[in-house]
């Protein structure tokens, strides 16, 4: 598949400045193994990844695992920087997918749950070729999601946060929030709909 031209086609100036800065850092690493950019990335993302490790329950198995997730994710960013393509995903999205994959692999290793396929087989990274990627005008999508989250009612925001960043099934999220399972499910559905993650109206749900 040819490299898409989304980047040059979208003239409007909607991209959040900060995320451009991180994309610049990744490109500097890809082009000239720039350590200073790496330290910048580390200072920004390492605390978030550690926060993610804690919220998703990794630390229940010891604090060392949180640090391991941070170190592995950051090392992966360094090694895979040349695969980053800002026309396919923002730096933040990319970091999220890498941290998620490593978190799943770490947990499987901890639980000695041996499987033939690893995370890289089960989740296609946003940089890999993909049809369907182009119509998702990513900058637009992300800005919309940011705005949407700020406007979500607090109960929906809470459920979405639990589902994404905590290792919770819908049932467990319901128990945490002291709500019936059906309520949790309908809040998730409502929140996803409001965030218009799919851009197109999801009439078939």
């Amino acid at each position: 598949m040819m490299r898409s031209t989304v980047k040059t086609r979208t003239g409007s100036n909607y991209t959040v400045k900060a995320s451009d800065e991180w994309a610049d850092c990744l490109e500097a690493i890809a082009e000239r193994q720039d350590r200073k950019s790496f330290v910048n990335l580390f200072n920004h993302f390492a605390p978030q990844i550690k926060g993610y490790a804690r919220s998703s329950g990794l630390t229940a198995m010891g604090d060392a695992l949180a640090d391991e997730l941070v170190q592995e994710t950051m090392t992966n960013l360094w090694r895979k920087a040349h695969l980053f393509d800002r026309s396919k995903a923002s730096a933040t999205t990319w970091v999220f997918t890498i941290a998620r994959n490593l978190r799943v692999d770490l947990l499987r290793r901890q639980r000695k749950h041996h499987t033939t396929l690893s995370s890289d087989d089960l989740w296609q990274e946003p940089h890999t070729e993909g049809d369907g990627a182009d119509w998702v005008e990513k900058g637009y999508l992300e800005r919309q999601i940011r705005l949407g989250i700020a406007q979500l009612p607090v109960d929906q925001r809470q459920v979405i946060g639990k589902v994404f960043l905590e290792d919770k099934s819908h049932q467990e999220a319901a128990e945490d929030l002291n709500l019936p399972l059906g309520t949790v499910k309908s809040r998730i559905r409502l929140a996803l709909k409001k965030l218009r993650v799919g851009l197109e109206a999801d009439s078939n749900e």
């Binding site: 890809a30 193994q33 330290v39 580390f42 200072n43 390492a46 605390p47 978030q48 550690k50 926060g51 993610y52 949180a66 640090d67 941070v70 170190q71 950051m74 090392t75 360094w78 895979k80 040349h82 695969l83 995903a89 933040t92 999205t93 990319w94 970091v95 997918t97 941290a99 998620r100 499987r108 749950h113 499987t115 396929l117 087989d121 089960l122 989740w123 296609q124 946003p126 049809d131 369907g132 119509w135 998702v136 990513k138 999508l141 992300e142 999601i145 989250i149 979405i160 589902v163 994404f164 960043l165 290792d167 099934s169 499910k185 996803l192 965030l195 993650v197 799919g198 851009l199 999801d202």
Partner: protein
């Protein structure tokens, strides 16, 4: 284009990384066929990024930065962009490692006159991941499953009383669901299936099979 999709909450769990191994695999295979769900997943990943960004960070020690710098020092070579290795055109990318040289070379075993099965991954702490292959026009006697069952059609198609299924279609059926699938006439049908328990014949003519279906 597939017509039967996983629901959006399940896709959100896939993106969050909280589904079981076999559910994750079934969704990954569906995405291979379905640009619509793939685009939706990309949106969910962007949402994951935004949520990560909003998370209150936790202080990280200087020694961790130092250790990470040492780690990248010891692996200075950037990973080369690897050319996609050869894969059999029939086999969706996520299944490559489990079906490295195409469906025909697998050790199929005959379960019924029209039906062959091959377990492609068996793990002690999870359900079996299998392929089922039905001859063109083959009819599988009415049965239920003793546990929940996931199916993704990989090749050909089949029908039951609820619909016609084509490559990429994702089906989730609870254990009580009873069906009598019939493969399309034009070609054989291959499905990826995860069943928590083996199928159970309900048609009286075939009930004697039940003890042998494990």
């Amino acid at each position: 284009m597939s017509k039967f999709h996983p629901d959006q909450a399940r896709l959100a769990d896939y993106v969050a990384g909280t589904l079981s191994y076999h559910e994750t695999l079934m969704i990954a295979v569906h995405l291979h066929f379905c640009p619509e769900c793939k685009a939706y997943v990309q949106g969910l990943e962007a949402l994951g990024g935004v949520l990560l960004d909003d998370l209150p960070g936790e202080p990280v020690s200087d020694s961790l930065l130092q250790a990470t710098l040492n780690a990248i020092e010891s692996k200075p070579e950037a990973e080369r962009r690897t050319e996609p290795s050869y894969r059999h055109p029939e086999v969706p990318a996520p299944l490559q490692k489990l079906v490295p040289s195409g469906f025909d070379t697998l050790p199929w075993r005959k379960l019924l006159p029209h039906l062959q099965v091959c377990d492609i991954e068996i793990s002690p702490n999870g359900p079996k991941i299998s392929l089922h292959r039905i001859r063109p026009g083959g009819r599988i006697p009415r049965h239920t499953h003793r546990g929940d069952e996931y199916t993704v059609v990989l090749k050909g198609g089949f029908s039951d009383s609820l619909g016609d299924y084509n490559p990429g279609d994702f089906l989730y059926r609870s254990g009580e669901h009873e069906h009598e699938p019939v493969a399309a006439e034009s070609e054989e049908c291959i499905c990826l299936t995860v069943t928590e328990e083996p199928l159970k014949m309900t048609n009286w003519k075939w009930r004697w099979m039940n003890p042998f279906l494990s």
